[in-house]
């Protein structure tokens, strides 16, 4: 609604950066850590929400791409002593290649096959860490050293620096993604999502368009993984289970598929809610196993609830609230902000043949 031009997007990014800077200075180190976590999460979720909401492809394997980014960062730092920025760029490049490989396979796969193939990727990739223990360090994982630069002074809290770095990377990613979504490429994604045949007839290369969406989403996940490595100082397979991939999907769905602001709302929820749920559970005398499982059950319940009751997610709800007060915005171009028509149309708008067409194709 408000992110239509580059200056406005940059404005929003700078404003967000200012808010984060203010919060990180005012709040304690644990909150700083949470800010960093949200930034990591939003980087990955933004990529997924673009992939699923705009190009209509679902991925249950973006946690695996995060693992690729994280291990790339850790290995480069460990063996070649690369500085973080270089490792970050390398992580993006490596995940781009990984994403392209998966994307080539994915471009031939429709909905259920694709989700299944990416699910296997998510399940299978962490096992590499055990198959090649010498390189990846099995369960123990690899340690990552990350320190605040000297000019900030010796007493500068590391978590604040981590929060700053992750926020900057997250915001740059979001601005680039927003530009991409409203460019020719973004239009191609939506065209392919809504009607492949029509898109192809209009000269869109369907396969390349789909693969590109996968690469973009993988790069975002890779950047997020790289950030996660420096935020947690550890890269271990336990962090990249299939639950991570599903948490990313949950965040994208809650926020509203295809919506970048929605990615932020979703990420805030899935970072903050588990912490509160665990606190609540322990303060009510429940065991920590119960506490750690409540968020998982809640993700599931929320995925079902959102899909059944308000598929547009939080951003769709906010948008509807806004139009309720201000009336429909005459400048708004409907397809841009209407969150993901492919996912959201009310039942009566879907032609009756929709299902059979999807199914038998």
């Amino acid at each position: 609604m408000s992110m239509q031009t580059l200056p406005r997007r940059l404005g929003v990014a700078v404003l967000t950066a200012a808010i984060v800077w203010f919060l990180s200075v005012k709040l304690d180190t644990f909150r700083d850590y949470q800010i960093a976590e949200v930034a990591v999460e939003v980087t990955a979720v933004a990529g997924l929400t673009v992939l699923t909401g705009l190009s209509g492809q679902i991925s249950l394997g973006n946690g695996a791409f995060m693992a690729v980014g994280a291990y790339t960062t850790a290995l480069l730092q460990l063996h070649l002593n690369w500085p973080f920025v270089a490792a970050l760029v390398a992580a993006a490049a490596v995940t781009a290649v990984a994403g392209a490989i998966v994307g080539v396979a994915a471009a031939r796969l429709r909905g259920p096959y694709l989700a299944g193939a990416t699910l296997i990727l998510g399940v299978a990739l962490p096992s590499l860490a055990f198959a090649y223990q010498g390189i990846f360090g099995a369960d123990q994982g690899l340690n990552v050293v990350f320190t605040a630069p000297g000019f900030l002074g010796a007493t500068f809290p590391l978590t604040r620096w981590q929060a700053w770095v992750s926020t900057v990377v997250a915001l740059v990613t979001l601005v680039l993604l927003a530009n991409l979504c409203y460019s020719r490429i973004g239009r191609n994604w939506r065209a392919v999502r809504d009607d492949e045949v029509a898109a192809a007839l209009n000269g869109v290369n369907v396969a390349v368009t789909r693969i590109l969406a996968f690469v973009v989403s993988a790069v975002c996940a890779g950047l997020a993984g790289s950030l996660l490595a420096i935020v947690t100082s550890l890269v271990a397979p336990g962090a990249f289970t299939i639950t991570l991939s599903i948490a990313l999907l949950t965040a994208a769905v809650i926020g509203g598929l295809g919506s970048l602001p929605g990615a932020l709302w979703g990420s805030l929820l899935i970072v903050l809610v588990p912490t509160y749920a665990t606190d609540l559970a322990t303060s009510h005398g429940l065991s920590s196993t119960v506490g750690s499982n409540i968020p998982i059950a809640a993700y599931g319940a929320v995925l079902i609830f959102v899909m059944l009751v308000f598929p547009q997610g939080i951003q769709g709800g906010l948008h509807r609230l806004l139009t309720l007060f201000t009336g429909p915005d005459p400048n708004a171009r409907a397809p841009r902000d209407a969150p993901a028509p492919h996912v959201t149309p009310p039942a009566d708008e879907v032609p009756a043949s929709h299902h059979e067409k999807e199914g038998t194709s």
Binding site: G116, I120, S127, N293, A347
Partner: protein
């Protein structure tokens, strides 16, 4: 040579379990063109039901039967409550709902039963069988596993072919609109399909849990292999699902046995097989639609 025989036989046994999962996916896919990602979660949950019943009654078979019944009930309830409302929405919605179902069940299992690995009893001895001193690599229980899946599959095949309920299900899967026009209550048929899928999933959970242990995520990999088997078989062919399960089971058994540090690479081998099959034949090896299209 003995090793080869052992790997093959144990591959067949696991292949039958993958086939059961694959069949449950195919049953739902044929009816609703939906892949049920919650299948593994449902199977895991009913196996916890079995373990509770066995713990309280001391009888394996009571737990076995009640878990199967729980699978039927769970399948029907899920279809009626959360799947049916998604039927007139875009397919992605239903896919996300089944993923939600999976993670909801895993979270609930974690809350109720904790995350620790639980051993699951077997009905028969797990001591390796031998023929004339040659160890076969499979046990009495493994024979039961293969037989149980085989019998269930054959029973379903017979029911589909020779009963009027089976005819209705085939009609609904073939063309929902025409079936409805012929007076078949398609919605009810779909519920029955989910119930049967729940039964097959529960069976797979009961049969595999002695070897994998039981924990909230224990069925994730089994589901993934079942899915791979179903895709190899073409997703809409019950026979293909069984053949796919057996092929995958044997292939993964060789991979685990012969490859260096193979056990850890098995999931990647499955991914490789899946991608290969989909590249060569995007509709699976046994898909009927492939034939029709040509």
């Amino acid at each position: 040579m003995v090793e080869f025989l052992q790997f093959t036989l144990s591959g067949v046994v696991f292949g039958m379990i993958y086939a059961a999962v694959a069949l449950s996916l195919v049953l739902i896919w044929r009816g609703t063109r939906l892949l049920n990602y919650g299948q593994g979660g449902m199977a895991m949950f009913t196996t916890y039901v079995a373990i509770e019943v066995i713990y309280h009654t001391g009888s394996y078979w009571e737990g076995f039967v009640i878990a199967l019944a729980a699978g039927v009930v769970l399948g029907a309830i899920c279809q009626l409550t959360i799947i049916r409302p998604t039927m007139n929405k875009p397919p992605l919605n239903a896919v996300i709902v089944t993923i939600g179902l999976l993670i909801l069940l895993e979270g609930l299992a974690g809350i109720f039963y904790g995350g620790q690995y639980r051993s699951f009893p077997t009905a028969f001895s797990q001591a390796g069988l031998r023929i004339g001193g040659t160890p076969l690599g499979v046990s009495r229980f493994d024979v039961f596993v293969a037989a149980a899946v085989l019998v269930t599959t054959l029973a379903l095949a017979v029911a589909f072919r020779y009963t009027s309920a089976g005819l209705r299900m085939r009609a609904a899967a073939f063309n929902a609109t025409i079936a409805r026009l012929s007076g078949i209550r398609v919605a009810r048929v779909l519920t029955v399909g989910w119930a049967l899928a729940g039964l097959l999933g529960a069976l797979a959970g009961l049969l595999v849990s002695p070897s994998t242990f039981l924990y909230p995520n224990s069925m994730d990999t089994i589901f993934v292999y079942g899915f791979t088997a179903a895709v190899i078989g073409g997703l809409d062919s019950p026979g293909g699902a069984v053949v796919g399960g057996l092929l995958l089971g044997i292939a993964l058994s060789y991979a685990g046995g012969y490859l260096h540090s193979g056990a850890n690479l098995v999931p990647l081998v499955a991914l490789g097989i899946l991608v290969l099959v989909l590249m060569v034949r995007p509709d699976g090896l046994f898909s009927a639609s492939q034939v029709r299209r040509v």
